[in-house]
């Protein structure tokens, strides 16, 4: 399967300027094992177990979700992590032999091997309900623009720059997201997708195949 199909929201990172996608970090000249784009390889637990240069570890990944978004590491207790394609990481609810030559394995959760890791829309919709940091809560008009894929000025945000979780309030009681968010107003919010916040502007990275006009 080509990694360039329309549903692939991780490749959208390349379409967003301002964030470098260049450093793939593939080691030096001694012919180390390389990432093979045709199969899935389980991520090493820690750096000590790393064989393929530049491959993120499970530990790094859990730390990253916690540091950037406050998502507790236990969130991932039931998941294994895999790389297929350069830096494309997948979360899988089971464990299987590694490497495994299949077309898909769980959910693509983020793109690593670049300076700023980029979570996928589908990952934050599913796991971002546990986030407590870098959650930008949008009002209904802003949320609608975001879902359409539009960029917008958002000077009120004074949190971190970079990839943030855009969320909004939606009717219906959530059992899943009781955590009060550092940035959110009162009440429950539901993640919409991933925004890139730069220079006072919130850019929507909702991939083409997921955009909707909800106005």
């Amino acid at each position: 399967m080509s990694d360039g199909d329309a549903s692939d929201d991780l490749t959208d990172a390349e379409a967003v300027d301002g964030v470098s996608d260049a450093d793939a970090g593939t080691g030096d000249t001694a012919d180390p094992p390389e990432n093979d784009g045709q199969r899935f390889d389980r991520l090493p637990a820690t750096a000590d177990e790393r064989v393929v240069p530049g491959r993120p570890t499970r530990e790094e990944l859990l730390e990253w979700w916690e540091q950037r978004y406050g998502i507790p590491p236990e969130t991932w207790d039931g998941h294994t992590f895999w790389e297929k394609g350069n830096g494309k990481l997948w979360a899988f609810a089971a464990d299987v032999v590694s490497p495994i030559p299949v077309e898909g394995l769980g959910l693509r959760i983020l793109r690593a091997r670049q300076e700023h890791w980029k979570p996928s829309t589908n990952a934050v919709q599913r796991f971002g309900t546990d986030a407590t940091r870098n959650v930008v809560v949008l009002d209904s008009e802003e949320a609608t623009r975001f879902a359409k894929g539009e960029d917008q000025e958002l000077p009120r945000w004074d949190g971190d720059w970079g990839y943030v979780i855009a969320a909004h309030e939606i009717a219906g009681d959530s059992e899943a997201s009781e955590t009060p968010r550092a940035t959110g107003e009162a009440g429950d919010v539901e993640p919409i997708g991933v925004g890139l916040y730069l220079h006072g502007e919130l850019r929507s990275t909702v991939p083409k195949g997921r955009r909707e006009d909800l106005s």
């Binding site: 898909g104 769980g106 959910l107 959530s174 997921r210 909800l214």
Partner: protein
């Protein structure tokens, strides 16, 4: 419409059948409980003034009054999946459990796969296979939109499905060599989709059916082989032709280690028993335990579904 006239002999109320086939199908969504409870999804639809009515037989299968599901927040969040009402049956018959190893042999674009994942609570291993790479991309897109993480996607001819990618015959303790359950939602002549695609029968021919029957038998045979003894295999199609339904089951009963099991359709959903005689052919009486779904009974598309147990 012509090809359907051959079923007049099966239906005392053929006129009602014919009239239903000419009506367009209501637009239906299924709530994806991996992302939202049925109650929450319904509240959100209410708040967005999307009118719907729950089906008589399932609180999470909703008939929408108007527009498609694509234009509401609950849909955007992956709380809903557009799925024809009748197509929710086979996953219920399969009854997959969290933690099991389950195969969807003909999975794309994934309406039933995603429902199976939901029933498994996204735990265990679900293998979604299809031989059509283009359609697999739709399967992946749907599964990811719904937040499913227990799905492995493979691109094989289901008739010769190999566990090789999963490490069979290796020493690896994570290898997988058999399924607990398998769904064969077979490619078919699609007569039952006439309400959705009015031109569904344009390419209908007996030769086409004869060709496809070979594929159906081959996939069902492999599914039975690949499932552990005591495991469950569900066979379904969206067509009425007994050649593609009861005859395929009859063949499996004769050639493979399996028995048809009784399975009750959900309360409030009316089905007809499988037919044991057709065009001078007689089938194993057990095929009566299969379910025929005619469009006029529940105002749905047409369907066929049977539950088998693997015996050796």
């Amino acid at each position: 419409m012509q090809p359907l006239e051959r079923y007049a002999s099966l239906l005392a109320d053929y006129d009602a059948f014919q009239a239903a086939c000419e009506r367009p199908l209501p637009s239906v969504v299924r709530v994806n409980t991996l992302k939202a409870s049925i109650e929450r999804a319904r509240d959100a639809l209410d708040a967005a003034s999307v009118a719907y009515e729950a089906t008589d037989w399932h609180p999470g299968v909703l008939r929408l009054e108007e527009r498609g599901p694509g234009t509401s927040w609950p849909y955007f969040h992956g709380w809903l999946h557009g799925q024809e009402e009748v197509s929710a049956l086979p996953a219920l018959a399969l009854d997959p459990q969290p933690g099991e190893v389950v195969w969807d042999a003909c999975a794309a674009p994934g309406s039933k796969t995603t429902q199976i994942a939901d029933l498994m609570d996204d735990e265990g291993l679900l293998v979604g296979n299809d031989n059509n790479l283009g359609r697999l991309s739709a399967l992946r897109h749907n599964a990811e939109r719904l937040g499913i993480t227990n799905l492995a996607v493979t691109n094989q001819d289901a008739r010769n499905f190999s566990f090789k990618p999963f490490g069979d015959r290796s020493e690896d303790e994570k290898r997988i060599e058999a399924f607990d359950r398998a769904l064969v939602d077979a490619p078919c002549s699609c007569e039952g989709t006439i309400r959705k695609n009015p031109d569904a029968l344009e390419r209908w021919s007996m030769d086409h059916i004869k060709g496809i029957v070979g594929i159906q038998k081959g996939i069902l045979r492999r599914a039975i082989q690949a499932t552990r003894p005591g495991g469950t295999v569900v066979y379904s199609t969206c067509t009425f032709a007994p050649e593609e339904n009861e005859a395929v089951l009859d063949h499996a009963l004769e050639e493979a280690d399996c028995e048809i099991r009784e399975w009750d359709a959900p309360e409030g959903f009316e089905t007809d028993p499988g037919v044991t005689e057709w065009n001078g052919e007689e089938y194993d009486p057990a095929v009566e335990l299969a379910h025929r779904v005619y469009p006029h009974r529940n105002d749905t598309g047409g369907f066929f579904c049977a539950k088998l147990e693997v015996t050796a």
